[in-house]
Symmetry: C2
Subunit: 226 residues, 2 copies
């Protein structure tokens, strides 16, 4: 039981979800947690700022140790609980290299997704340009094709770094799930569709599925023509 | 000697510099390397694309293993050459947590720097807005104050994760050096100034200092009023 840990999080936030998957994988259930609302701006509340001066979620504490950045928290948990739960960094140099590589390419993937689905949220109205949104959509398509290619090359039933689930899946799966939540077509992107279908049944991922997605299973159609 | 390694890089690129510092710290000198020009678009050449489908520098190979993302390459090198050269991940949980946390905050730091100094490079002319650039400048100032605070708290002569040099310094120092290259005032940001002065004498950093900065020691003044 992880009673010396506290997680402040928001539903549907890929960075928060990463940390929750890592906690499940390391058998760290029973941590203190509080679901906050981005819409109500609760991520800027004093409760969050006390842990995280950036006013962002996730905010995560283990005893007196604070690790708020989602990738940092995942690395930290794997390092501190190496022999507990599932091993998340593979032993073989090839798989390990691929894991690191995909994790950091995953940041571009996430950024390119956000630049399309949250364009109006990030860019003030009088600074928006159809040409910019169009460019962002094209960059996302290019990115999607790269990941289709990576999965194609590894073969059916594979994870992102190879045969076993790793930190690459912990950090990138929430991006993939968000793509499908926002209408991505599994017919146009069959390998990503297969990967999504495989991983959404994994216990750590089922246990941490965004509650507002469960309440309202129908997502958006922002990406259905991409 | 690291004759089974190849690095394609560009001068003054913080991501390339990170990998070069990590290689020096792990005593991996003598690798094959080629300095390419961003201005001549050599990062989009076939030679790069053969290693890196994103057409970006650094592009890095160790035998048949490809790890192009700079953070990925740094993690990979530390993991594969753990007992060679300097240990770059501290043992204590507190320092390790701080190292991970600062590494990933370092990505925001780098992004906020780029959003100011390369605004005109990234944004097509008819999509530029003074309001956006002004907002980016304010975001950079907020970010700079955070890092001043972190260094202030750790005390003089400290590195980013604590008393010893770590991966956090490997990945964040090139951002700090770029800030000063673009005119940041060490009077306005004294802790960052002190950190910069301390680390620029470190052998791994001196050995990998951007050659075009050496040739032309005078930088830009983009940030001198920030």
């Amino acid at each position: 039981m992880a009673q010396d840990m506290t997680l402040l999080w928001g539903s549907g936030s890929p960075p928060c979800w990463r940390v929750m998957i890592a906690l499940e994988e390391k058998n760290l259930q029973g941590y203190n947690q509080k679901l906050l609302s981005f819409e109500k701006m609760e991520h800027k509340s004093q409760e969050v700022l006390d842990i995280n001066p950036r006013g962002q979620l996730p905010s995560f504490k283990h005893g007196d140790i604070i690790v708020n950045e989602s990738y940092a928290a995942c690395f930290y948990l794997e390092s501190q609980f190496k022999s507990q739960g599932n091993q998340l960094i593979p032993d073989s140099p090839e798989e390990q290299a691929r894991m690191y590589q995909r994790m950091f390419e995953g940041l571009s993937f996430y950024e390119k997704l956000n630049a399309v689905i949250y364009y109006n949220w990030f860019i003030p109205e009088d600074e928006r340009h159809d040409s910019a949104l169009q460019r962002n959509r094209e960059a996302l398509v290019t990115e999607l094709k790269l990941w289709e290619g990576y999965l194609q090359k590894l073969g059916s039933g594979s994870h992102l770094a190879g045969p076993t689930f790793s930190l690459a899946d912990v950090v990138v799966f929430p991006t993939v799930a968000t793509l499908f939540r926002f209408g991505l077509s599994a017919e146009t992107y069959p390998k990503l569709g297969e990967y999504h279908a495989l991983l959404k049944e994994r216990p750590s991922i089922k246990a941490s599925w965004p509650p507002h997605w469960l309440e309202n299973p129908k997502g958006q159609d922002t990406l259905n023509d991409i």
